[in-house]
Symmetry: C2
Subunit: 266 residues, 2 copies
């Protein structure tokens, strides 16, 4: 049992809340029962260590059992040690050190189904928005999420938390420049749909039964003109009231759900 | 020009970030160009004081002109004074002290159009979620937002900020117990649709062309059983992938947009 919150091992885990430590070690931390459960259940090959308090081990027995059955190292820790490891204020007794979830772009694009649904996040900086979009993409049954290189790190604690486990469900590509992302998708026959509040085409009017990617911009300033221009269509979510705009996560969710419903009715 | 960040007047404005001061004074603070612009443009009768830095007055001249034309008191302040007044880290040079936006329940319900669209938030505690739902309701063209008594204060700085100006667009009712809200809507012939991830009816199957209210629960634990039972239908947003659920703001936006599209196609 780990009892010393000031030990080097605990400090090394805590350091994973910093991007530099994640880059150096090639590891990140999933915090809380939901994230740890989805990690051990869906991506056990990525999990290196599971840390659990006695109380959480009793409360979340199925998670610990799945981890043990997958041959994962499960270490009991005191609540103080878990708190010292985690970025979250209340990690609820569970955390897991994992290897990154991301997959190479070419392989991910090659694995897309015929009418694949992709979500591309370009220059997204806000962790909550990025995580919520990944969660929405998962809920909408998207086949792939691609996060461009000039974006928030999807393995940061806040992004991981706001995906609510979805980071372990959907294939995610990271670290590729936008131009290369769009080129790879275009080469694979995926229609590129820019989501933009000033777009000429209304969401309900777009053909969403073909393979397509929603290309989303920065939460404050939207898409770069060159990214928008590189897309096949520029689509806006209609505003029925007096709001100026929707936030990124809301717009993405509405676009992805419109796609999901179109695919379902095909 | 106000230059002393430690003056009583500045402290009195700053105090409005606390609920107790808002209750005592019957005032709240709208921070930043977007909120102040929508306040002076859409609800000038609620605005008591506008504070602006010299730089912001130059950059956002139309806002200051609209305020002046409405006969509002506009005071120039130093950046230090504005920072001392505001909860936001970067209020961007503008803030306005306003009277509460909320309207009485009975009057708001009586003013609903024949196929009115209402969003009811019950026991919502997270300011970001509450504000985002109000913004989504505005975007979807909802006629009314009702926030139950055991919820976050819609006049708190974080809620005001996340509404992105929509707080000044949509009629909002606050402070009424859930049972009284549902009774008033039911008496007015408004169908009550509980949004619940475990609901038996799927969103695309609901009749959204009648007057109806989306009843949303707490962001963590959802709707109280007695609230769900008091509704006419319990509706779930379909999950097409492996996500366990959507967050409150996403679910509400999808429900409200489904309503908006049904109303548009009538």
């Amino acid at each position: 049992m780990l009892t010393n919150p000031r030990s080097d091992r605990v400090k090394a885990v805590r350091a994973l809340s910093r991007r530099s430590a994640r880059s150096r070690t090639g590891l990140f931390l999933a915090e809380g029962p939901q994230a740890v459960r989805e990690a051990v259940r869906c991506r056990p090959e990525l999990v290196r260590d599971v840390f659990v308090t006695a109380e959480a081990a009793a409360r979340h027995r199925p998670i610990v059992e799945v981890a043990a059955a997958a041959g994962l190292a499960v270490s009991e820790v005191t609540p103080e040690v878990l708190a010292a490891m985690c970025d979250t204020e209340s990690p609820q007794g569970l955390a897991a050190v994992c290897r990154p979830v991301d997959v190479p772009l070419q392989r991910a694009v090659a694995a897309l189904p015929p009418a694949g649904l992709v979500c591309v996040l370009t220059h997204v900086r806000d962790p909550g928005n990025a995580g919520t979009v990944i969660r929405g993409a998962d809920a909408a049954g998207a086949d792939l999420v691609v996060v461009s290189d000039a974006s928030v790190d999807v393995h940061s604690p806040k992004v991981v938390r706001s995906t609510a486990g979805s980071l372990f469900h959907v294939p995610v590509v990271v670290g590729v420049p936008v131009a290369a992302i769009l080129a790879a998708l275009r080469d694979a026959g995926v229609a590129l749909l820019a989501a933009d509040g000033a777009g000429p085409t209304l969401l309900p009017e777009v053909d969403l039964r073909r393979a397509h990617a929603w290309v989303m911009g920065n939460e404050a300033w939207g898409l770069l003109p060159e990214v928008r221009d590189a897309c096949d269509e520029v689509v806006r979510v209609p505003i029925y009231g007096r709001a100026e705009s929707l936030n990124l996560a809301m717009a993405a969710t509405l676009c992805l759900y419109a796609s999901a419903e179109a695919r379902r009715s095909t």
